[in-house]
Symmetry: C2
Subunit: 337 residues, 2 copies
Amino acid sequence: MLEKTTLAAISERTGYSVSTVSRVLSGKAEKYRISQSAVERVTREARRCGYRPNLVAQSLRTRQSQTVGLVVPGIDNPFFATLSSIVIAQLDARGYHTLLADSRESEEEERQALEMFQDRGVDGILAVPVASSPEFHEEVGQNVPLVLIDRYFEKTSLSYVCTDNYAGAYMAARYLVDKGYRRILAIQGVPASMPNRERVRGFLDAIKDRGVESRVVGDAFSVENGSREALAAFAGNPKAYDAVFAFSATILLGTISALRRLGLTEGKDIGVISYDNNGFLDFMNPPVSRVEQPLREAGEIAVDTLFSLMEAHLSGLPRPAPVQQLVMPTLVIRESC
Amino acid sequence: MLEKTTLAAISERTGYSVSTVSRVLSGKAEKYRISQSAVERVTREARRCGYRPNLVAQSLRTRQSQTVGLVVPGIDNPFFATLSSIVIAQLDARGYHTLLADSRESEEEERQALEMFQDRGVDGILAVPVASSPEFHEEVGQNVPLVLIDRYFEKTSLSYVCTDNYAGAYMAARYLVDKGYRRILAIQGVPASMPNRERVRGFLDAIKDRGVESRVVGDAFSVENGSREALAAFAGNPKAYDAVFAFSATILLGTISALRRLGLTEGKDIGVISYDNNGFLDFMNPPVSRVEQPLREAGEIAVDTLFSLMEAHLSGLPRPAPVQQLVMPTLVIRESC
DNA sequence: CAGTTTTGCGCAAACGATTGCGCTGTGTAT
DNA sequence: ATACACAGCGCAATCGTTTGCGCAAAACTG
């Protein structure tokens, strides 16, 4: 390590005041009409000793951190991992860093994360909300730009970017019905979450009045839930249902393992369709039909939205009208149904 | 929002000095012998106006941020997603927050991330390194506690916690050989990365002098690489190899899709084994044999190690001897070979 | 040459917290 | 009465930046 490399140090070594050094090194030289010679002297010294601004001090003074907080319900879930990856890349491209928190589907942890984000002075927040009601998020949204992703609240003034889960589930269910399946089991994720509720609604609407027997079971976006609920629902009778709709790729994995235990092969003995577009769905045997969500698009729109909120916030403008957008998923048919 | 909630504000409203308020609210009341009445008056007011300390100011003053930086080569890779999840949970449990950066396998981005971490005054860094040589990491490690995970450098004074990739690959290859496979194709990941090099070494050592024909191809831990390289290596001849060893689960997916195109079924026409323990491997048809890495264990050890480094760093002690640990993977045999 | 403009730069306050040191006032021992 | 201990608290410096304001010297104007 070299000498301490602060503005003060450079100031001492160049003979210029801290102010001048600061202005030069933050590129405000001509705005403040610093002489060519000063600029040179200072930049040279800065380079020589490898000056790097202390971002903490900078944040304190400017009330900007070049950081956004991202909170997701489970980074180990490939869905959120992909989403995070997209979002982080976007932020990075704009010169922003990411504080990542994992709420583990817990309202309490989510709350703590949001609070921590504020205490750290993040410039904006992206959240996949877990809470059942929007109050807290709205309160936070008052203070710092906030955009919801993937999940949203019924009636809220917050911005959100989600996929149309109603439409996705509707398409999938309608496809099954049209294919002639008549006893359909749906295995859902976290029941209270908005995407899940919408999927249930889409599913039920699609089969309504179509002479289809149906049932919705389950309570988590996890492999275990898929397996457990499938086994319980079939109750040992392989003919109990002729199709299964798994509400996520993780659920699907569990479901398939259960079906195999029952001696059923997807696409042959039973129709199977899933939500999500995890890479492996095409590599299962047989490949699995699914509702693909335009994650990249959603992530990009969310970041765009956040930045426009942040810009307004910076300029002290009133909060712009919320952007509330649903992007459309697509149905991808393979050989499992 | 209520009034501004700073120490100064509370100081004014209670009549006590900022120092006293600070000491009360940071729990140093009896250390500094603050009167019971003052404590009460201050805490009451703090609660009333919902005081939350400004962590940025706190960081600036104390030179501690309660934050560690985590940099991985690709958070969308399930392997790193799982690892991150484990690490983040651990840190969270200890009251630390996580700045996450994605180097996307780029040395340059990794460098930037590490630099940013320092500029932000993180208390420690966990890195899955991408660089081919340790210099930069070692330099960083001089200034802030740093522990490598999953990948390490040949000769370094840095601490690391990795899995024994040599042993893992050796076990897998030896198993294939013992099972009678004689023409084995290995599809590797990023060739320069330490885990990959070790896997290659383990693989080659295991088949040496066993009368086995072999070839190592590929250059990335990706689905495409797996598919492309498998197709190229078989060159249309399904009998070209009788077994394939995929060096990661992502590679495996690509490989399987290629094998299917060649009309081959794993476990029947060809032996297949993979690295990694992604959830889906058990749900493929047939389930895939693999080398499972004790990720949770590795993550926990890494965090433990980091904290002991951090503790020493705090107390101004000399850097403790590096902890350099390999944890042992396990061979899980299913029906693919 | 006096007056005005421009150029180039520094002073000092601020951001919000932490902390070493010292000050005052009361109680106790001598 | 003098000394001393200690309880209870505040002063002010500090962390490293940023920035409004103003000042002096140089340059220009008429």
